[in-house]
């Protein structure tokens, strides 16, 4: 069932790490379940790079089910019969929260989009926006904050910078800093977008076209990093596509998508352009690349968690090479050094980074148990 998002208009300009501020900022969000009278049962779910607030409800553009419906809902591990679940679109994104496609208040009254005039944001800025939303909802302390991938970065940032705002912090398939390899893959994506003539220095909103080709290539490159070699091999191997003329599995001796894996990536790329803004992709990947929680706290990750009273749980997947287990262990060691209550488990799954979104009974058990 599709459901209109709520929108929270921030009463104050949102201060940003860059020193700038975001005027007239707004945050689009979805909620599920009932907030208890004492407001003690709120769980904030933070979404990943290309995610959105539709965690457990139909996406208004694609019509697909919510991106974590198998985890969030009545009777699910994050049980909306018990918990009041909040999921908000991060600032910089394009599903209703302020981002580069939003009207720039300075351009009033013609309400032209910010485009590249949107300030560069950080993960901490995203979380600052989420904290403003929690203030607006009157929620002083979350029962839990939960996130996978970039959502995990937000959960860590919340725990480090607003430690009193969450009693439990669940971080799945994530990292406390972007590695050179992570940044490199993102830069490929950004360059693909910016090399598309339709990008037009970001000013494409009024042109009637958009850098879909560049954005699709960015998505294709990124998508590879979300899967494991084992998973790709199992799913596609070297199998060839059936050709339009009916010949089965023949090479075209050309540059069509001969291999099934090529066809799959092209499909992923073009589908993505239907629902995502290319400039948002630039801004959010930038924010992730800037993310280094230790750097924000004097260079020592343990200092980011000094005095933390929340319970932490970290989960990694053995085939995730984007944010490998070592990154989670690095966070666990810092939390141990800070004396925080931390659990950690590496789960076995064939599908690489994306495993956190897929069927995994053990993950369900850990999530359900941790938020109990």
């Amino acid at each position: 069932m599709s459901q209109e998002s709520s929108t929270y208009k921030l009463p104050q300009p949102l201060p940003l790490d860059s020193g700038r501020a975001l005027d007239n900022a707004q945050i689009a969000y979805q909620t599920y379940g009932q907030l208890a009278a004492d407001k003690s049962n709120a769980i904030l779910i933070c979404h990943a790079l290309t995610g959105d607030q539709y965690v457990a409800s139909e996406h208004p553009i694609t019509g697909k089910p919510g991106w974590w419906e198998r985890m969030v809902g009545p009777g699910k591990p994050i049980d909306t019969d018990r918990f009041y679940v909040i999921c908000a679109n991060v600032i910089g994104s394009c599903m209703g929260s302020s981002g580069p496609a939003s009207p720039d208040p300075k351009s009033a009254p013609d309400a032209a989009p910010y485009a590249m005039g949107f300030p560069v944001i950080t993960v901490r800025d995203m979380v600052r926006g989420l904290v403003a939303l929690l203030d607006g909802l009157g929620i002083a302390q979350l029962h839990s904050v939960v996130g996978g991938s970039m959502g995990g970065m937000q959960a860590l940032s919340l725990a480090a910078n607003w430690p009193e705002r969450a009693a439990r912090v669940l971080v799945i398939a994530s990292t406390a800093r972007h590695s050179a390899q992570n940044i490199a893959f993102h830069e490929v994506g950004r360059q693909a977008i910016m090399a598309d003539p339709a990008w037009a220095d970001g000013d494409y909103y009024a042109t009637g076209s958009s850098p879909d080709n560049g954005l699709a290539v960015a998505r294709m490159a990124a998508h590879i990093t979300y899967l494991s070699e084992e998973g790709l091999t199992a799913k596609f191997g070297r199998r060839l596509q059936d050709r339009p003329d009916g010949s089965e599995g023949a090479k075209s001796f050309g540059f069509d998508a001969d291999f099934q894996v090529e066809s799959y990536l092209r499909y992923q790329g073009s589908g993505f352009t239907q629902r995502f803004d290319a400039n948002s992709y630039l801004y959010i990947t930038r924010a992730m690349d800037y993310f280094d929680l230790a750097e924000e706290h004097g260079g020592k990750l343990a200092d980011a968690f000094a005095g933390a009273t929340a319970r932490f749980c970290l989960v990694s997947f053995d085939t995730d090479w984007l944010y490998p287990t070592a990154e989670s262990r690095h966070i666990v060691h810092a939390l141990n050094a800070a004396g925080a209550k931390v659990s950690f488990v590496e789960l076995s799954a064939p599908n690489g980074h994306d495993s956190f979104l897929l069927e995994h009974d053990e993950l369900d058990r850990v999530v359900r148990g941790f938020v109990e």
Binding site: R329, N336, S343, F344, V345, L347, E362, E372
Partner: protein, 201 residues
């Protein structure tokens, strides 16, 4: 899931639980499904943390609300700061360590005190099996055949006393068990199936 109580614990764990000071900080190394940690938190108000190699067991612990990190005691104790805990507990794991002597050092580095429990290889039943059977013993206390067992460093009560001495570790207290019951320390090297030592340095 209901928390375990004293009476549910294995005798060596019950002895440890009974002698941990109330409200202390505890690291349970090889915590399994967290029975001891659960009792220490519920009955003794301890702040208990666990280290466990098996992911499924870690998942069970997390589900019980315990703080347990998946990791290998042979390598991962080095990630804990000095004297981070009042007690480091190693129950029936010493004999599986790559280097039990180094692990003992680590226990006494991360904990002010350590509890160590292990099956005694010099128990009369083990001796009998070896002496009269001429084969590596498979007994109640050591139920797995030599080629499958995780116990790669069999140890006796007297061996452990020697190791403690060599490591300048003070034996504060000790407890011995046979047939699921506490026994007197007299002739423990013969009579004990399991031993528990409390150490300090």
């Amino acid at each position: 899931m209901n928390a375990a109580t004293y009476s549910d614990l294995r005798p060596d764990l019950a002895a440890i639980a009974a002698h941990v000071d109330r409200g202390s900080r505890v690291l349970d190394i090889g915590c399994g499904d967290g029975d001891l940690m659960g009792v220490l938190e519920a009955e003794k108000g301890c702040d208990a943390r666990g280290l466990e190699l098996n992911a499924a067991l870690v998942g069970r612990c997390v589900g019980r609300g315990l703080s347990v990190v998946q990791g290998d005691a042979n390598t991962d104790l080095s990630n804990y700061p000095d004297k981070a805990f009042d007690y480091a507990i190693l129950s029936q794991t010493l004999q599986t360590a790559t280097r039990p002597d180094l692990m003992l050092d680590e226990l006494l580095r991360v904990g002010r005190r350590a509890f160590v429990s292990f099956p005694n290889f010099a128990h009369w039943r083990t001796r009998g099996a070896l002496m009269f059977g001429g084969k590596m013993p498979v007994t109640r206390a050591l139920p797995v055949s030599w080629y499958e067992t995780d116990n790669i460093h069999h140890v006796t009560v007297d061996d452990f006393r020697d190791l403690a001495k060599a490591k300048n570790a003070q034996i504060e207290r000790s407890w011995f068990f046979a047939d699921e019951r506490a026994i007197s320390p007299v002739g423990a090297n013969w009579r004990a199936e399991f031993a528990v030592f409390e150490l300090s340095r």
